[in-house]
């Protein structure tokens, strides 16, 4: 069955430190993976997608099919990065399955 696992519910780092939010998936097909972010009191929004290999707000994520992972990384965390982050796997055109999220806190 398709599944997305985010093993860390909470992650806390100091400003300027590197941060990595882990995401593992199980899927028999060719995966399309994404990261969403939800800042406090704001809506869920797409952060980045593996297929475009982009860097958004300094974040990158590489799809590792061998390890079935799609970890989100940033070399130098900022306080404004504090938010809830969700990893998601697109199953078909209309449906995605989400992990349970990681709350990132960046301390000053």
């Amino acid at each position: 069955a398709q599944r997305v696992t985010q093993p860390e519910k909470l992650l806390s780092v100091f400003k300027g430190a590197p941060v990595e939010l882990k995401c593992n998936y199980s899927y028999s097909g060719s995966p399309e993976l994404f990261w969403y972010v939800q800042y406090s009191r704001q809506r869920l929004q797409l952060l980045l997608r593996h297929i475009s290999r982009e860097s958004i707000k300094g974040f990158t994520a590489d799809l590792n099919k061998g390890e079935t992972s799609f970890h989100l990384k940033k070399p130098f965390a900022q306080e404004e990065d504090s938010a809830m982050y969700y990893c998601a796997l697109m199953l078909n055109a209309g449906k995605s399955t989400f992990g349970d999220g990681t709350t990132l806190t960046v301390k000053p």
């Binding site: 994404f34 869920l44 055109a93 209309g94 449906k95 995605s96 989400f98 349970d100 999220g101």
Partner: protein, 115 residues
Amino acid sequence: GAGVSQSPRYKVAKRGQDVALRCDPISGHVSLFWYQQALGQGPEFLTYFQNEAQLDKSGLPSDRFFAERPEGSVSTLKIQRTQQEDSAVYLCASSLVQGKVTEAFFGQGTRLTVV
């Protein structure tokens, strides 16, 4: 408005009561999605519309859940005979692109509490 609008923002229902949750998508968006998010969990897919056609309702948890989008714009998610396990945030999202939930803009959600 500029974004997806959901109403009400908060709803408290007594167990057994019927509720209706409304979603106003961004004008012109053909695709509309409903997700359910229980406390401490990620969003879970409920159903997907392309214009007025409900193309996927595989995520609706029971026949007490019903969604419609009769004119291809506003959508309503109805829950009959609410149960405590229905307590969750219900998210609506719309997309200009056909069937691409990853291109969708999310609303702020309706928080349903069943007491």
